[in-house]
Structures are given as structure tokens and as C-alpha cells.
Symmetry: C2
Amino acid sequence: MRKLKNSELQRISVEDFKSAKKTPIVVVLDNVRSAMNVGSVFRTADAFLIEKIYLCGITATPPNKEILKTALGANDAVAWEYIKETKDIIRKLKNENHHIVGVEQTENATLLQNFEKPNKKVVLVFGHEVFGVNEEVIELCDECVEIPQFGTKHSLNISVSAGILMWEMWRKLQ
Amino acid sequence: MRKLKNSELQRISVEDFKSAKKTPIVVVLDNVRSAMNVGSVFRTADAFLIEKIYLCGITATPPNKEILKTALGANDAVAWEYIKETKDIIRKLKNENHHIVGVEQTENATLLQNFEKPNKKVVLVFGHEVFGVNEEVIELCDECVEIPQFGTKHSLNISVSAGILMWEMWRKLQ
């Protein structure tokens, strides 16, 4: 099996990305501490043609050296906006009839394998590396979804969680 | 929805992990450059109770400060072994009747959404951040699997790819 060269992968230009039909998924980063995690989320969002990323609170925004290190420029393609208060954008997206999913380990959270795709645009909310999604933001979510975990550690890295969620949502939309 | 405390997550001890029934998946890291990526793969492998990780060639091994930073100690739980030549362990695992999957963009690669779980133990092979899985290793694989990507960048971060693959394999085993 011959490996494909980069030129054979037929990736699109930033210009074509902007005008391409997007995967109807929005990502909200609620006070994510690490700019490298933010960059990694951009890179994955680029791969899955995600509609937009909202960077909230203390979440770093481009231009930023550490974002660039892991995004490799994907932040030039994926639409993004900085919002000071996460709750403000969540309320706005709720009013636009989106289904707000907090990715968090809560009481009555839906295990990811049991998640049923709603007939609405899905908003995925990821939180701080240590403290998770803010309680007040959780209260505004329509549903919380949890990646099942069976080992010794309490959680996954946020860029890995975001990768799994974006993949799973994209897969369910096919 | 109340967030769960760490104490409510009922995670297992390192001792219990060692004796727990594992998910029948083996991970091979073929010359992965970044120790932080290695640590992140350990953390995800811990979550999904992965059987073993083979660290090959230039791939960093514990104890290592950067592995610790992203593994958060998951390397104490998940079984691992250092192998100098990736091909040696791939040949051994093939002889043990495992199905070797190179995660790589190749001619005739299976798109992840079309991957059919074989009736054998699956070995997931991930390669170098820039050069991917070595050509000689690819030749020994039973199948190559590719995560579909539609954006401007050529690939995903390896710890994100590994997260998506481990999740998808775990999901298919349920």
C-alpha cells in the first residue's frame, strides 16, 4: 500500500474552505487554559469542516504562538469568535434552536455510545482542563454527554475529547 | 445536571487496572517524535483499558518528564514495552494472528467509517508526526485505515487520531 503524497490528498484552500458547505456542528470552548489545546481543536475542526468555534473567557485567541504550533494554520480556515461570557453565546445559540451538549461527567449524562442525533444543529461545549465546563453553563445545556472511561485517570485530554466528539458527531450525520 | 466529583467517578486503582479484563486492542507507536503525544496516547489507552502499547524506535519511554505531563501517570497502569525495530514486533503480532492496521493515508486505505471489525485482535499502528508510518511497516500491515478529512490541513495530531481510533474500535467491540 503506497503512502499518498501531500499533493495527492486533494486538500482544499483556505478560500475554498470558507465557501464550502460545513458540517452543522458548532464548538464552544469555555475557559480552556492551554493554547496548545485550542490549536489542536482548530486542527480537528478544520478536518471535519466544523462551522464555527467560539473561544470564551480565558481561552486564548489567534494570533498566538502556541495555538499556531498545534493548529498549523487551521485557525486561518475555521471561523471563530471571541466571547467574554460563555453563558451569553450559549443563550444566543439556544435561542437559535440549537441543541446544546455539554461534554462533561454529570449526573444523568448520556454515554457517547447512546447519544441520539437530534434534528437540530449540535453545539459541543468543552471546559477547563481541571475544572471542566462551568456549572452555570452546564445548567443551560440541553444534554450532557460523557465519553465512557474505565481506567485509573479521571478524564481525557480536552483535544482528544474534542476529536472523539467531532468524529462521532460527523459519523452520525452521514 | 450536577457535575460528578472525582471520587464519584469510580475509577479503578493501578492494581485493579493490571488485573482487569482488557479491551483486545494493541497500540504500536512507530517512531513518534513528541513525548507529549506519547503521554497523551497513554492517557487515552488507560481510559479504554487498552491491552498494551509498544514504543518503537525513537519513541520516548517512561520515565520521561514530557510523557508524565500528558499521561498524568497513566503510564503506570497501561502495559508497555520498548522495541527497537517496529518491524520485529509487527511480525511477532502477525504470527500471533492479530490484524495489523496501519493508521495512514495510503492508496486503497479503508475510510474509518467503513472499517469492519475482524474476528481477530486489532493492532493499531501510528507513525511519526511528519513522515507517518514507515513504508516498510506499512508493507507488513493487513489493512490501512484513514480518518476522513475535508479541510485545508493534511493530517490530524497523532494523539487526536489515536483517540478517535481507540474510541471507534472500542465502540465497535460493544
